[in-house]
Amino acid sequence: MNIKRILGIDTLQEKYAYSTDPRFGYTSSEKIPDSWVPTTCGYCSVGCGMLIGVKDGKAITVRGDVDHPVNQGKLCPKGLSEHYMIEADTRARYPMLRENGKLGRVSWDTALSTMLEKFGAVQAKFGKDALGIIGTGQLVTEEFYTLGKLAQIGFGTKNYCGNTTLCMASAVAGYKRTFGGDGPPGAYEDLEKADVVLLIGANIADNHPILCQRLEKNTHKTLIVADPRVTKTAMMADVFLPVKPRSDIALLNGMMHILIRAGLIDHDYIARHTTGFADLKASLDKYTPEHVSTLTGLSQELIYKTALLYGRAKAAFIGWTMGVNHSTQGAETVNAINNLALITGNIGREGASPFSITGQCNAMGTRETGCTSGLPGYRKFESPEDRQQIANFWNVDVSRIPTSRGLAYPDIIEGAVGRKIRALWIIATNPVVSYPNFAVLKQAFENLEFLVVQDGFAPTPTTEYAHLVLPAAIWGEKEGTYTNSERRVSKVNKAVEPPGEAKSDFDIFLAIAEKLGCKDHLYPGWSGPRYAFDEWRRVSKGRPCDYSGMTYELIEEHGGLQWPFPEGAVPSVTRMYEDGKFQTADGRANLIPIEWEPFPDQPVKDFPFVFNTGRTVEHWHTRTKTGKVPILEGMSPRAWLEMNPRDAKKLELKPHDKVDIVSKRSRVSGVELRITEIVAPGQVFMPFHFAETNSNLITQSAFDPISREPNYKQCAVRVEKTGAGHMGAAQ
């Protein structure tokens, strides 16, 4: 501190001066950039349009794009402070190779040579599929498309999956089972047009706040929220359904039971566009209001009221997120939602849709172009015709296209535990914090012969296990497209250079292909993401996710374009299945009988609480990004455990006490207690963002048999005052 400041002559007048930005008006002079670069937010999949203010090659501020159709100028607190993450001191800057136990800086050439040498050795010895690749929902679509080819053809492994399995796999699997293919049918506009909006396991006020704005525009709606916890979103509801954990299938079946008997179903739609109604109807017989009341904990009156509200709506919308997906019955719950929408004809119309609200900014992009659970363009590994099409596009023999999907994410991890997977490449995800039951993951990592972690941040808890770290550019430093929850493809632009020697994931993939010797074959003449986009447009032509009419310029002009967008299409709000024709062989949607089952790991005497996990508005996933944004970190600096006052009284715990949460698997220590009526007696809730107090030390290895998504939302725990348990152990 200088003497002028100490005396008080200097009060940093320049830093605190104001002037007028030509576009956004009067503001701090230091926040007035040389140029505004339009882009799309890189956090969640709402897909908000925004502008990055760039001055002297640095991102100094951001603003919402007033003209963008999704967010109309608004951003959530993460978006409003997104430029700070670019400047984080924990950005990965150089390739780092582990030698003698320590990561040390190496050249890109050494890094990639070592990677290919190690991967090659493993694949030569244990087979091509001994290499696993775990991707993400964070890259641009062009990179996903490029990576898919690189994985399947370049490396020849089919064991490629993404962290999207930890969030949206149940929705994908549910859509595929009901509709014959993936894709959220509705649009955000439906939130504004529906008479009834039913949110199940979706706390949008914390997780997708900008969607609340769309909902708020709808003044005639009835909002119904089903959640075991009185979330911020529950507080917005006209009707709140405080369901018991994992009783949503019972609720949905109970609603259908009532609606069928009340005649509030669309017989015509069922007859023309669905199959399996008779079996479904029979399966619903036992879901009487009495029975459903017992399973859900809701009064019969409330169940009737909810069913009738939904059934009588002219247009009813069902939105869901992780409360549904993070479950061993996730895909089936999605089927139950789809059943309800189909038998009431609430699909393919304005305001009427079953709609999964996606998590990551571009989880949709990896689903479209994937090569994980399907071939690009929602093609199926199992279909010879689809395989042949892809082989033709890629100019390879069809025998090189796998005939079934490879291992899903949890099975790759289990595969490493069982030494079937010997080398692993992790791209833009942080499983040490995000993967359930950490002990299993740790075992898997320790078994690996070579682990490559490619990320924009290092160190992260996951790079601690890496043999090689590849530094990647992040949002704001590269170009491409994201697809949001409503199938809107938006442009992502480069505003600043990546730090140090970090490269875009696209460039890393091409550099690897070059070294593998397949670049000229797989990516002939490619020098930027635009090449990938152009090929992908051709590949997607005629598919549900048809990009063929899109160009980067057209996308930017309209603030994103919703697919399908074939050549000659006019930009407009699109919905899937408007004609009642589905992606199944016979064009009819499948009505699938679904049975309620109790969740695994039920509370018992020694573990009496149901442990629920989720998010808070200030943070993104494992906090590698938002943990480095001081204003967000200040608002939400550490994890907490929510407990009902009645339980706290029994355990003689006080607010802000530090507690341990113990499951059959492990213990998480020193979590700050929040005593609140937000949670029901017998339940506790903890946010999962915090590596320091990692909820996934105690979550279980239980996965949806259909989608392979983990059951993060319910497991049995006990709560002890921190220190008390250890004292007991010492005695």
Binding site: S28, K31, G73, V617, P655
Partner: protein
Amino acid sequence: MTKCIGCHCCEVACNEQNNNPPDMNWRRVGEIEGGVYPFTQRFYLSMGCNHCLEPSCLQGCPVDAYTKDALTGIVQHSADACIGCQYCTWNCQYGVPQYNPERGVVGKCDMCYGRLAEGREPACVNACPEQAIQIEVVEVAAWKTDFVQLGNAPGMPIADRTVSTTRITLPDNLPTEIQKADYARVRPEHSHMPLVIMTVLTQLSVGAFVSVWLMALLGRTELLGLGAAAAFGVANLALAASTLHLGRPIHAYRALKMWKRSWLSREVLLFTLFAGAASVYAGALWFGFPGTAALGGITGLLGIGGITASAYIYLVPARPSWNSKHTLAEFLLAGAILGPLFLAAFTPEDGLLLMAATAAAGAQLLNQGAKFLWLTRSDEFELKASSRLLSNDLEKLFILRFALLVLGGMVLPSLGYAIPGLLLALAGELLGRYLFFVSVVPKNMAASFFSGRAA
């Protein structure tokens, strides 16, 4: 309050607009909760400045840095005029003005005056996805009665005193009992060490001069000049320490400006005059000039006036545990304990001075004990919380404070030990003053579970 979903967008947008450090938020979102599961109700209060009709920040400011805009009613603060005394941060019951240590001045929400002038909405309004914040013109005459219904909300201090002009839309079915999310999170406040030193030492000095004067009246003159000179030295030390409290010490003189309105200006004025009178009085005693009795009287009165003004600074409704007669008593008694002990340390053995100190220490013991009982028995959240701080977080220091008072102020003087008594009693009063500063629980709006107001 019915629309806000607690997304904190307004806070982030405000900081971006004003380039404030991340731990300083001119706009804050508080959380309140009531009801029993599943009928739980949670509400969020997004608050900037309330632009009160009778702003206490403005009224207390010693340098007239605040203005209430005649046209818009916006309460504006001038960083150029501000000297960083932080008195406004004590006066505002909403915690709106915040001291920025990086700048040495206070800053606050000005409703984005500059944006309004361009016909744009404030940054918070612009960022809110729920249209929960709106700017409207206040009909002053009507609002003076309407605010009782429309300006009050659970989780907010009562709007009566300063007439907040924020209209808060309350939901229809409020639970009868609503708690702030941060209700159990009471932390010690800033200790303001320069003020601890300044207040205790000025009180010592005044006490010493009054003692000198009384002893002179009783005809005991031996070494009084030395005692007075030393007390004058202490007074100067105290006043020098006080400038260290300011963010902009070089502009300390500006604090004299608002003596007609601000107790802080009056304190500065009276202590300055006291110091002047004390120098003349000490000089007169030193050189043995005649007519010192009147001079001593004037010095003593100015000093007592200064201490009184000092105490009145702290009698602010926004800081309930300060806002009582115990504060004035504590300040005066500190002088009455330390002054005679100080003089006794310089002059030959004099039982009278030691007896006076012992009596004053006894009174201070009663005063402090009574204050603690008052805090403990109060129903007011902030007072009760202060007592909890003293009996939990600060327990050991609080006990030590009493021990030092009894030992240094009563036991040692009655045994005739002036210097050890002075040292311990001084330590006791310094510690007591430290506790005075850190144990206050200011009135404030609700915060969120984690983010309380930065002390």
